[in-house]
Each structure stands twice: as C-alpha cells, then as structure tokens.
C-alpha cells in the first residue's frame, strides 16, 4: 500500500498502526510528535491501535520550543 508521510510517498507491504509507522520512519522522539491522520489530530493513546490504510495522509508534527532544546514539563499540582 502507498501512503503519504509529511508529503512524501512511502510504500509498505501491509497496513500498519501509527506506532509502527513512527518506528518504521525512525522518528527519533515519538513522544515529541503530534500525529495528523487524514486531517484529524489523533489522541496519543490511540497511536498503538489506529491503523493507517492505503492512501492515508500522515503528518508528523513536532513540538518546537524557541531553540533552547526539548524541555521537559509536568503539570503543577
């Protein structure tokens, strides 16, 4: 099947989940990525089960700060 990842066509033998795609595409820090599938932003907890079908359009959108690196945050109590 053929899908588009960040605008580029990629071919896979079978359908795969978003988690598998992140791995196959060697995304360095998958937890720093938001995923848009066919125009919809996916819930992070669905990455493992959401299947990308033939013709799917996937965008990996990266968290970007202002140049001081990837910081780490938590919600305050």
């Amino acid at each position: 099947m053929k899908i588009k990842v960040n605008g580029e066509e990629v071919e896979f033998e079978t359908e795969l989940t978003v988690s598998e795609l992140l791995e196959k595409e060697d995304v360095e820090m998958p937890d720093m990525v938001s995923v848009e599938l066919n125009g919809e932003i996916l819930d992070r907890k669905d990455f493992a089960t959401q299947v990308v079908e033939d013709g799917g359009q996937v965008e990996f959108l990266y968290f970007m700060g202002g140049g001081t690196g990837h910081e780490l945050y938590r919600r305050t109590a």
Binding site: E36, G39, L61, L72
Partner: protein, 268 residues
Amino acid sequence: MNFTEEQLERYSRHIILQDVGVEGQIKLLESSILIIGTGGLGTPAAQFLAAVGVGKIGLVDADQVELSNLQRQVLHHTPDVGKLKVQSAKEKINSMNPDVEVKTYDYYLMSHNIKEVIREYDFVIDGTDNFPAKFLINDACVMEGKPLSHAGIIKFTGQTMTIVPEDDETPCYRCVFPEPPEPGVVPSCKEAGILGVMGGVIGTIQATEAIKYLLDKGELLTGTLLSYDALDMEFRKINLNCNDNCGVCSDDPEITELIDYEQGACEL
C-alpha cells in the same frame, strides 16, 4: 491623523504601495502588538514592526542579555550584555523609529497576570522558548479572543501558525498539540542548538502575519502550520482542522482556567 513631512517620507514606500497606502499606514500607527519573548523570534519581529511604524509595541522578557544570545537575537548588541533584554530592545526601537511607543514588562507572564497584559493589545506574537509559556499564551489568547502568531524554532527547522479565536474555523495550538510532552519522555536536556538565522526567518514571518491581520489583507496562516526546513530550503504548508476534543477552544472545553505548567527536572 495627519502625517508630518518626516512621516510622509519615512513611510513613502508604504504609502505608494497598493493595499497599504495612507489608510493602511494610519492603521499601523494606531495599532498595538505585544511581543512575548525578546530573543531569537521576538527581536527580528520587533525590529520590523518598529520599522514599519506599529504605534505601540509591548515587550515581555524577564531575562538579561547574555553573550550567547548575540548569535541570533539581533536587537541586542555587545555592549548590552548584562542589560535587561526589554530595555536593550526598547533603546534600539526608540532610535529606529520615534513614532513607536514601547512598553516593557520585565517579568514572566503567568496565569495570574497574562490576561490583563494581552488585553491592551490588538495582536500577540509568541516568541517564547518554552512549552509552559506557549500553552499559557495560546490558552489566554483563546479565552480573551486575541489573535496570536505562534512559532517554534530548533536546529535548522522552524514552524509557525496564526490563530484568530474569533473565527470558529481556526484551530488553536492546543488543537494540534493537546498537552505538553509527558514527564519522562524527553531523553536528554542537552541543548539542541540553533542556526542563528532561524528566528530571523520565522520571526519576520510572524511580523508579516501581524501586519496582514492589522491591515486585513491577504490570507493568514490560520488552519495552516507553515513548516520550514533550512537544510532542504523547503517550506511546507500543512492543513490543520479544529480538534473537536480541544481542551480550550472546543464547544465544551475542559480547561476553563489558565494552567501554569512547570519545567520538570532533567533526569539524565
């Protein structure tokens, strides 16, 4: 308002420009823009907004100029090291264009004070370097109905999007990035580094969006993430839709009060 001889000359290239003209220049002179963060993104944005004659510019930054800032933060010069960034930027703007009133805020915006500051301005530019600030600014702008240019830069890449909350079709930052990254997922706190020109490119695009919004001209980067890769010299526009589950801009938002996220400790 009537232009002085000096203003007619200073803004002559705008005045002859169709879609700006006398009317547009007056609009700019009567407008106000808040720039949060006077660093890599904020300084190039500020310098062009000052040059074009935006009447009032607010600058927010609690930091002082460091030598390592000068590689990319173009309003700060070598003698400014140690000076408050907002003061350094204000001096350059005053010298560049006396038509511009500069208001400085030398403290961090948090949940308790951000709304009253952004209310004073027509448009907000996010030039911050961290996620707690980016989420806070987005949420405050959505709640206050204030238009915003969001941006991020790292290494050789950058991205920006424009959010106009009064337009229901416009997704916000949280529509795309629902929550800041979870604690423990970021492998290293090592600085990633950044090419000195990245803020110049993206910050100037943010200034362009602000000017277009004020003049009501052209197509804004609403519903669009503009992504820039300097190594491939490639710009891509990624279409974004509103997220029905967005925590802050959906019909029944989960977040009704601003959140002060904290920067977690480095674990490595």
